[in-house]
């Protein structure tokens, strides 16, 4: 099956790339499965119950909640993006659909995005040159849609020095370039 076709990362390599500029390290994550879950109209209660059984947290607006096997962040009213380990959830959309039934619309999103983990002692000086998120002002677990270098992205704060960034996959190289020059500029 899939082994017959060699996967290519969003940055165009066989293996995920990790780049360090000054104190900033950008690591491409190639092991994260992603799907969207949106409540069908008027079925939020059902979705909530099914999600609980499935181990799917459903955080409030602008929030990320870690869980097992699923971690989730809010993207729109009654809509979330769900992360899981790709190795065990390559068919994440199918698995979620089976778990949530008709209460939700589920869409595969894994390859729609490039997933980048950002690490530095403090990421605020980097991110303030890229987007209008008040990174040092928001709490850990803050998740928001924002624009970086003209690209609509999701930014999740895991700590002052840890964040995950989802950007449009086709622009992965442009996004990485923007991160690199901003890191050189900021530090």
């Amino acid at each position: 099956m899939a082994e017959m076709l060699k996967a290519m990362t969003a940055l165009g390599a066989n293996e995920p790339v990790s780049v360090t500029v000054g104190p900033v390290t950008v690591t491409e994550r190639f092991d994260v499965a992603l799907a969207s879950v949106a409540a069908r109209r008027g079925r939020m209660a059902e979705l909530g119950a099914a999600a609980k059984v499935a181990g799917l947290p459903l955080p409030g607006p602008a929030r990320f909640l870690a869980g097992t096997p699923y971690s989730t962040y809010w993207v729109a009213p009654e809509m979330w993006f769900v992360e899981a380990d790709l190795a065990s959830h390559e068919m994440i959309a199918t698995t979620l659909k089976d778990a949530l039934g008709d209460a939700a619309s589920v869409t595969e999103q894994t390859d729609a995005w490039v997933c980048l983990d950002l690490a530095a002692p403090d990421l605020a000086p980097l991110l303030e040159r890229l987007c209008n998120v008040d990174f040092s002002g928001v709490p850990d677990g803050h998740a928001t849609r924002t624009m970086l270098e003209h690209l609509g992205c999701y930014l999740i704060k895991h700590g002052p020095g840890a964040a995950r960034l989802y950007g449009p996959r086709s622009s992965a190289k442009s996004l990485l370039h923007a991160l690199e020059v901003a890191a050189m500029s900021a530090f």
Partner: protein, 968 residues
């Protein structure tokens, strides 16, 4: 000449010497100097020429309000014109040149304008260059442009980088003088997130330029102490060299940080400047006040400065502006200058106090002040030999940013100046001299109180240090009534009292009219020193009060901003991000030619060895596809996942044709209209499940269609159960077209895809290569037996290589957008040229697709009489009668023998290609009454391209009109 005018004291580091040049002559200065202070220290007063009369000029001020001392800094790509020497921080190796002069600063040929000044009064060119009319553009304007203007650009690319960024704070404090420092200290100690921004490289404002004490310490030392404390607070961000340039909506302020302007070149990787967008909950404007001059005859000679500037050069930079100095003032502050200079050992020859009736009435000195002529209160006229004169006409609170939302400042007679009104930007409080509190104590107190009020602080506030609290003692004196010579108001634009009088005489008495008629307050300094005098003179002339006369509108930016800072990183190849298709790497390996389609880089064609001209590649790709099989990356088409129990009904409303009846596992071509009935977009939509559809859009409209659908879902029909999400990038999708398309795919797809099992317009989930999830659609844009196959994007590159390898026996080729265009035009499919935002389904020959059995967006308005005209435009095919005839897109249809005028226009060619199957150029076009004209002959005329070709009007379906191939 080594710093002949340097005196003791000042905030310069004398342990280090910096070398710099001005007009090629080497000089020396010290860290802490500006270019102006260093030049003055070296006895150089002449720094520029004025805009219109080319009058010799030196610095008037010691700050960003400077109208005169404009220079070109650096050379080559870094050359920047119109830089104020008064704020240019000195660095080792700095190269500065004077501007707006020829051949040299001292001997400027165009200073003849000064002799001819009677011809160059305000409005002269409006009146003078009226005839002959044709001369304006060709003769007058080029000459005037060459003569006028200030600095020049090198026309080389700027080698530096510029950043943009976003900052957030509870309190933005604009200006780090006593008021700003006190506000920042109050808020910072209270734990609030504070940004303190100041345009200067040294924080402290006027405290650095005065000998006043604060809390028993020298003002500059007190400021340094506060800055040191603020620097220890993690919640306070100190931003020196940062000019807040404007107040925008919702507490957002623009600011330019000059990161590297004080260095010869930026550190590698660092930007020259950063344009910050500061999101503040509250802001305090503590921008201080700007001293204004007094207008008198020949008040613009080098050596005549604002009194506060003379003081600043002496106190902050250890520079005496002259050997023998006089002061002309109408307020006590001017007297402070005389006292400070005297204490520094500078000879003060005279203090002329306008309040006593004494006035300076004229000056002399061609390239620099030599003497002043004083009329004493008793009428006695005296010439006094001085080489510097400090002038103080009072201080104008710096209300600029407070007025960016059109707030009108109000007149405060006590200080004879405008102070901020009550209708400034929400959340912005003004403190210190900017609010009209001109004493140090007033600044400290109002700065602290503003922070408390703005943030609602309740805890203990910092104690107020002891400081002077002298009252303002001023008698307004705007201009000296004497003589017939010129007395400058706006030195940058060479606007004199006479010009304002002329404006009044010609009835341009409104301040806005006066500004445009005289150019008062325009250009790089925006009249910071001249505006109030100008309108005071107009008030006097018209018999109105100054507040009745009013002010002009203040607009951002506060000081000039480099274009690079506005552009940021968006330039050259980084102008926008690129989107790369899944086949990009393969295509790059093959030497493919790419075309920009929005942000996408799509393969345009893939040249093979020996192909020297693009048509060879494209013709080959088309012929090979129609002969066997071709593969095209169509990932760029928009893909929207539409789910929910109302998904079918939703599609019925957004599409002109019906989708709710589409069977699961089938797809259908859909036409989407705008509200006005014009075709918006087209594409195929597949029903993947009972409540699950996948819509494809054109590449160009992928985002706008998604936005449109979200608008429909959220705003028009929020009661529908529909969920939308884009999956454009989640799937790598390839069109596989040609007679051998199925045979090729059968080598990869795990399921039966025979015509019976997977008929024309079939769609479904399949697996490839032994289990990889994939989607297959049997749709055709080329007119061939064709499929579109999609796999998760990460496998797109591998799938393409696998298709080429496994299908090698069919000699598959990869074709690009050019071949795609040829085949779709051969087939008569509409695309960008036809989906032009002004055509209906009827025009495209797709009128029957607009179902009237249901309501849909645009259905009703598409039936409008004008749009439904049977003689209106119809899509037709076009061939040249002579197969060698050339067609050009955009050509207009004309009847044989008709004159090429608009009245005879029959329509136009929308898309044109060379068809290797037909063997000639072919085109699609909109032709009035086109259906009835099929078979007739017309002309395709392009007056711009110079072509006039006789053409045959044919069916738009050039190739396989019955669609036998695609159903094969």
């Amino acid at each position: 000449m080594t710093q002949s005018h340097r005196i003791a004291g000042g905030q310069i580091d004398r342990s280090k010497t910096l070398r710099f040049t001005f007009d090629g002559i080497p000089y020396q200065g010290h860290p802490g100097d500006t270019l102006a202070s260093a030049l003055l220290a070296n006895g150089v007063r002449l720094m520029g020429r004025s805009f219109k009369y080319h009058r010799p000029r030196g610095p008037l001020s010691a700050g960003s309000e400077e109208p005169n001392a404009l220079v070109e800094l650096r050379t080559g790509g870094r050359q920047e014109p119109n830089t104020r020497a008064t704020v240019a921080e000195l660095f080792d190796g700095l190269e500065a040149n004077s501007q707006n002069r020829w051949p040299s600063l001292r001997f400027d040929a165009l200073s003849i304008n000064d002799r001819l000044n009677t011809f160059f009064a305000a409005g002269f060119y409006y009146k003078t260059f009226m005839w002959p009319k044709a001369f304006w553009e060709k003769v007058y304007e080029p000459i005037i442009r060459r003569a006028a203007g200030l600095g020049s650009v090198s026309r080389e690319e700027d080698p530096d980088a510029y950043d943009k960024g976003f900052l957030h704070c509870d309190l933005l404090v604009i200006g780090a003088g006593p008021a700003g420092l006190m506000a920042a200290l109050t808020a910072g100690r209270a734990g609030k997130r504070v940004i303190l921004a100041d345009e200067d490289f040294a924080l402290g404002g006027r405290l650095n330029a005065e000998t006043l004490t604060v809390g028993g310490a020298a003002g500059g030392d007190w400021a340094a102490g506060v800055v040191a404390e603020l620097a220890t607070l993690a919640n306070v961000r100190l931003m020196a060299r940062t000019t807040v340039i404007g107040a925008f909506d919702h507490g957002i302020y623009g600011a330019v940080e000059r990161v590297s302007d004080h260095l010869a070149v930026p550190v590698i990787g660092k930007p020259r400047q950063v344009l910050w967008r500061i999101y503040s909950k509250r802001a305090i404007l503590a921008a201080g006040a700007i001293e204004r001059p007094i207008a008198f005859e020949n008040n613009d000679r080098p050596g005549i400065m604002l009194a506060g500037a003379l003081r600043a050069y002496a106190n902050r930079w250890g520079v005496k502006a002259g050997e023998r100095v006089a002061v002309f003032t109408n307020n006590d502050d001017g007297l402070r200058t005389a006292a400070d200079l005297k204490s520094k050992g500078v000879e003060v020859a005279a203090v002329i106090d306008g309040r006593d009736g004494a006035e300076v009435i004229d000056t002399s000195g061609r390239l620099g002040l030599k003497s002043i002529r004083v009329r004493h209160s008793n009428g006695r006229i005296e010439d006094i030999r001085v080489d510097a004169l400090g002038v103080s006409g009072g201080w104008n609170p710096n209300v600029n940013i407070h007025s960016h939302h059109r707030s009108r400042p109000v007149w405060d007679a006590a200080i004879a100046g405008f102070v901020p009104g009550n209708d400034g930007p929400p959340g912005l409080v003004v403190a210190g001299a900017a609010a009209g509190f001109l004493s140090t104590h007033g600044a400290l107190r109002t700065g602290r109180d503003a922070a408390i009020a703005a943030l609602g602080l309740t805890g203990a506030a910092p104690d107020l240090p002891e400081a002077e609290d002298a009252p303002v003692c001023i008698t307004p004196l705007w201009h000296v009534n004497h003589g017939k010579g010129r007395a400058w108001i706006d030195q940058q634009n060479d606007v004199t009292v006479k010009d304002v009088k002329l404006a009044k005489q010609e009835n341009f008495t409104s301040v806005e009219h006066m500004k445009r008629y005289t150019t008062l307050g325009m250009a790089t300094d925006q009249g910071k020193t001249g505006n109030v005098i100008g309108l005071a003179v107009m008030a006097e002339l018209t018999g109105r009060s100054i507040p009745e006369t009013g002010t002009t509108i203040y607009r951002p930016p506060y000081t000039p901003v480099a274009m690079g800072a506005l552009a940021g990183r968006s330039r050259g190849k980084d102008f926008k991000p690129y989107r790369l298709t899944p086949s990009h790497h393969w295509a790059t390996e093959q030497g493919a030619v790419f075309v920009e389609v929005g942000n996408w880089l799509r393969t345009q064609w893939v040249p093979k060895a020996g192909e020297t001209e693009w048509r060879q590649s494209v013709d080959r790709e088309v012929l090979a596809t129609r002969k066997s099989v071709g593969i095209c990356d169509v990932t760029t088409l928009g893909k929207i996942d539409i789910q929910g129990t109302d998904a079918g009904a939703f599609l019925d409303r957004v599409y002109a044709n019906t989708f709710s009846t589409l069977a699961v596992g089938k797809c259908r071509y859909g036409l989407m209209l705008r509200e006005d009935g014009i075709v918006y977009d087209d594409g195929t939509t597949a029903r993947m499940g009972e409540h699950e559809y996948v819509m494809t859009t054109t590449t160009a409209n992928a985002v706008t269609v998604f936005r449109h659908l979200e608008f429909c879902r959220q705003c028009l029909w929020p009661d529908m159960d529909v969920q939308l999400i884009s999956t454009t990038e989640a799937w790598a999708q390839f069109s596989v077209a040609g007679p051998n398309a199925r045979k090729l795919l059968e080598k990869l797809v795990d399921q039966d895809i025979s015509d019976a099992a997977f008929p024309y317009m079939g769609a479904g989930n399949v697996t490839v290569c032994g289990g990889l999830r994939a989607r297959l659609f049997r749709i055709s844009f080329s007119g061939e037996l064709a499929y579109e196959i999609a796999v998760p994007t990460r496998y797109g590159d591998a799938l393409l290589r696998e298709m080429l390898a496994r299908g090698a026996e069919y000699e598959p080729i990869v074709y690009g957008t050019e071949a795609l265009g040829v085949m779709r035009i051969e087939k008569g499919h509409v695309a960008g040229g036809e989906l032009n935002g002004q055509s209906t389904a009827l025009h495209m020959g797709l009128g029957k697709m607009v179902s009237k059995k249901k309501d849909s967006i645009g259905m009703v308005l598409s039936q409008r009489e004008g749009l439904a005209d049977p003689d209106g435009y119809r899509l037709v095919g076009v061939k040249p009668v002579d197969p060698n005839g050339r067609l050009t897109a955009g050509s207009h249809f004309l009847a044989i023998g008709a004159a090429p005028v608009a009245a005879n226009d029959g329509g136009w060619l929308t898309s044109k290609v060379y068809s290797p199957h037909i063997g000639c150029d072919i085109a699609l076009g909109y032709l009035k009454g086109g259906n009835a004209k099929i078979g007739s002959r017309m002309r395709a005329v392009n007056l711009v391209g110079g072509t006039d070709t006789e053409v045959e009007i044919v069916s738009p379906h050039f190739f396989d009109p019955d669609g036998e191939r695609l159903r094969g």
